[in-house]
């Protein structure tokens, strides 16, 4: 606790090496760290932008990449029209730009393959980002921990990381993807077309070989409130549910 820990997350510069549009509103930015760190899946970084007049804006963004992708991190940033940081990334930032960030940060909404499973992940919209780091970490580590991811998006084209997730689902190696679209019919037989509810959570837990040892829920505040309540109604103990919320 103190100086040693402080030295682990000073501000550093990171260079944008790749930009990849994920959905109409979400774009991934890949940063090469000048001071590489090994994060834990689920952690975030703080990003700081500085204007010529000295004004600084900072925001937290979850890391989408697995800890194993050493030296480079992926942030999947949703464009918020009235924001001041996300529009900068979407409209101005380019490959080669240097951005200040510090991390890794956060010590609660984290999962490691060594923690084992089964694990239930529930994400809404860009709330899937820290959960994606967990799924990728499981894959990179060839972990056998069963994971079910319930991912709620408005429409099929807003399913972030869609092809990658479906590819992992198709392996049938203990990772199970459940998509639910709130404004479109389901596209796959096993998916849903409604908001998350207790019945869906019951069915999600039934896809796991045993009851989950932890559940991670991330999304907007309204989403997390509803999804956490659905989990409790599906008899997942509140003490096993970890949440991360954004927005109002």
């Amino acid at each position: 606790m103190s100086e040693a820990s402080a030295a682990q997350s000073p501000w550093q510069t990171a260079r944008i090496t790749r930009i990849e549009k994920r959905t109409p509103r979400v774009t991934s930015f890949f940063f090469k760290l000048s001071r590489p760190f090994a994060h834990q899946a689920g952690q975030h970084v703080d990003v700081r932008l500085t204007a010529p007049d000295g004004y600084q804006a900072r925001r937290s963004y979850s890391i989408a990449s697995a800890p194993e992708s050493a030296g480079t991190i992926e942030l999947a940033i949703e464009k918020l029209e009235d924001g001041e940081v996300s529009p900068f990334f979407h409209e101005v930032a380019a490959v080669g730009d240097e951005i200040e960030l510090r991390g890794p940060l956060g010590g609660h909404f984290i999962w490691s393959a060594s923690d084992g499973g089964p694990i239930l992940l529930v994400g809404g919209g860009s709330g899937v980002v820290p959960l994606m780091a967990m799924v990728r970490h499981r894959t990179m580590r060839k972990s056998a921990a069963p994971i079910a991811l319930v991912f709620s998006a408005r429409v099929w084209d807003e399913v972030i990381f869609r092809d990658e997730l479906i590819g992992l689902d198709d392996r049938r190696d203990g990772f199970d993807l459940v998509l639910t679209l709130t404004r479109e019919p389901a596209q796959r037989a096993s998916d849903y077309s409604r908001r998350i509810d207790a019945a869906m959570m019951v069915q999600a837990t039934e896809r796991l070989p045993k009851p989950p040892t932890l559940a991670f829920v991330c999304g907007s505040n309204a989403f997390v409130s509803a999804a956490a309540q659905a989990l409790i109604d599906a008899d997942v103990p509140a003490s096993l549910i970890r949440t991360e919320r954004y927005g109002i």
């Binding site: 703080d46 204007a51 004004y55 600084q56 101005v92 409130s225 309540q229 003490s239």
Partner: protein
């Protein structure tokens, strides 16, 4: 804009200007690295507990030993004080003029008939959350157990029925779903303080994470 400190080495971000900055009429009220928020965002580490006031209680402790326990009715009979304060969340939003009513920690100690027995406290919550606050930061009108927000009962999302309010520290110190205050012999890190967040959390010194100066 805050005055720049000597040790600040600014790396100007290409193409970023302060033009998108949310408007504020009073920069001096915004701590470094914060932005002004009009809404009231909700953050928590787990599900929102739904607590009935008939099941609610508040226990004052010295170490493991209970000094006094109040039920909801008894606690509401203590003197109510108004506090209107700016609040600062470590996730970088600041909200001006939040209006609370509740029982000052001074009045809780007075009702228990004690002076602070140690220099440190842990705030305790129904969901197991804890956060440490030095006793001096809770006294002399600096902190309260809030029961009303904007004149109405505090909603569960915002920590109702009762939450700690320590507005001069980052808002994770203002524990939601409060059910006790424990005086401790040492400064014992609480939930977030054990998970990378600063032991004290002064927004004006930007003490966000463990080890920040």
């Amino acid at each position: 804009m805050r005055p720049l400190r000597k040790r600040d080495v600014l790396m100007v971000t290409r193409g970023f200007s302060s033009g998108r900055r949310p408007p504020t009429d009073n920069d001096a009220r915004i701590p470094p690295g914060q932005y002004l928020e009009q809404g009231f965002p909700v953050l928590s580490a787990g599900p929102t507990p739904r607590l009935r006031t008939e099941d609610w209680s508040f226990t004052l402790k010295h170490g493991p030993r209970p000094i006094k326990k109040w039920n909801w009715t008894e606690f509401n009979a203590l003197p109510l004080t108004r506090m209107t304060r700016d609040i600062h969340c470590v996730t970088a939003w600041t909200k001006f003029d939040t209006a609370w009513q509740g029982v000052l920690v001074d009045d809780i100690l007075a009702d228990a008939g004690i002076a602070p027995p140690t220099a440190f406290t842990l705030a305790l919550s129904f969901d197991g959350y804890t956060t440490n606050v030095p006793a001096k930061d809770l006294l002399d009108g600096k902190a309260m157990v809030a029961l009303l927000y904007e004149g109405k009962p505090i909603t569960p999302d915002h920590g109702g029925p009762a939450r700690l309010l320590v507005p001069h520290l980052y808002f994770w110190k203002s524990a939601k779903w409060l059910n006790g205050l424990q005086f401790t012999e040492r400064d014992e890190p609480g939930f977030w303080e054990l998970r990378g967040y600063h032991i004290y959390g002064d927004p004006w010194r930007e003490q966000r994470y463990t080890g920040d100066p």
